[in-house]
Assembly symmetry: C2
DNA sequence: GAGGCAAACTCGTATAGACGAGTAGGTGGG
DNA sequence: CCCACCTACTCGTCTATACGAGTTTGCCTC
């Protein structure tokens, strides 16, 4: 039984000065790109690759770890190494916080997920009064203490993002914003009810590799970066009334913005 | 001479079921986070770590490769392993293509870089007529052939992004847009002169690990993701007149957007 | 037939050793 | 004084081996 699909993988070039493990990684990557292994498919086992190429197992593992680092494959202990499927991505539109989307009753996350036919969950809700970090304090205009709302979002059981909202205590203390359920329309609706009519948002976007706690919290596979989004909400008086710090699994999102050409 | 700063690294916990190479990675990560090694500092050599922990060299290398994958350190053959410095980031504001920024003579990239005191270069300029990919064709409304402008941007000699603009041939052929130097204000200025008054842009943002050719082209260190940005420019008649596909080194950028709360 | 158990397979971790190749510093000769 | 070379040190690549732990399969027993 040809465990390796015939023709899927070639031979090594001993005259090349490219390292053997890189050549093997190249061939596997190429085979994946060309569709000879498709999403979810099991790659040949380490033992099979060892026999096919006539190299030691550590060399094969080195090749596979290259592909893992590129986010192309993932491994499961006892099962094998598989081509990483691209999960369905959630598209975040730049008007997702527009007032008109707030009229209904549910949160932006829930509405979107329902529309996409997936099952949304919110998790690890924690609400505390804290001393803000220097960065958060600066963005909020320097309050000594803030209300922090930590939460994690899951789609169909998969964690996809976690976020913390920071609000100046003088705005949020004692209001429904400090409650686990902020009510219909979320905290932006409550802020407007409290007289802070929202004017605009500023979002900063970075991408980087996750810290270990982010890998755990989002159950990230190797080779999956995170998108780090920091949003500041300003009211019509120019005051920053909320900062939301969000970390998203990069393979689950595409962010979409519409910009005027003015 | 204590090659390892005293107290910087602790001992292994043999009772822990956490793998030895992970424990070592944890301690190094912790030491970096706590500033016991700062940006650019050389970590203890593999040999020193081997002696300090009493493990084999492959185990130490495994630890270091974990940190490389996280983007925390990089290695230089013959020199050592170093804490990766965070390079200065370029902030891309969402109004960077506003008409008012186009009045001067220079391109957006050049203006920004000069303002930041860095030396900008454009590179690998290539202009071709091509058959568009399915995706590009769809975004542009289905033209059979397009003009493609490939280019790479460098700051102080470091490549930071490469981009390709696609324009329908019926718009761009024979105009200055098809020339290596598109003239003052860039191709958006030319498009408006040609009667395509720009109305708005749509930008899609993804983050992922780079493909091998992207690693080469941007000289990316291990553990640095890329930001993939696809911008479509629409004229006042609702026609998509340009698609720009950009890949950026994620450690060199922060994207900033301003959104109305409407 | 159902359950349990063992074998065979998978990847994970770790050791010990070898050689190669790039770098830096010192030492000697010109 | 400067250059060339040698040496010591660095990380890069690769082999061979061993055992552990999770999964799957199939057989054997009841």
């Amino acid at each position: 039984m040809p465990a390796i699909p015939s023709g899927a993988l070639g031979a090594l070039d001993p005259t090349s000065d490219r390292a053997v493990f890189r050549q093997i990684a190249d061939q596997l990557r190429d085979a994946i790109d060309k569709g000879r292994f498709s999403e979810g498919d099991k790659l040949p086992s380490e033992t099979e690759l060892v026999e096919h190429y006539g190299v030691s197992r550590m060399t094969v593992r080195n090749s596979l770890s290259v592909l893992q680092g590129e986010g192309l494959v993932f491994s499961e202990h006892g099962k094998g190494v598989f081509v990483r499927p691209r999960p369905p991505v959630r598209r975040l539109a730049s008007d997702r916080f527009a007032r008109r989307h707030r009229e209904q009753g549910k949160s932006a996350f829930t509405v979107e997920a329902d529309a996409a036919g997936s099952h949304p969950t919110v998790d690890s809700l924690e609400i505390k009064e804290e001393r803000p970090t220097q960065d958060i304090a600066t963005r909020l205009g320097g309050p000594r203490r803030v209300l922090a709302r930590h939460r994690r979002y899951l789609l169909d059981g998969r964690p996809v993002e976690f976020a913390t909202s920071y609000l100046p205590l003088d705005i949020a203390r004692g209001t429904q914003i400090a409650e686990p359920n902020p009510g219909p329309g979320g905290i932006y609706a409550r802020l407007e009810e409290l007289g802070h009519r929202l004017d605009h948002f500023e979002e900063e976007i970075r991408a980087r590799m996750p810290a270990p706690h982010e890998v755990r919290s989002l159950r990230l596979a190797a080779g999956v970066p995170v998108i780090h989004l920091i949003r500041t909400a300003y009211d019509t008086e120019g005051r920053a009334v909320e900062v939301c710090d969000t970390v998203m699994a990069a393979d689950a999102y595409v962010l979409a913005y519409q910009l005027p050409a003015t």
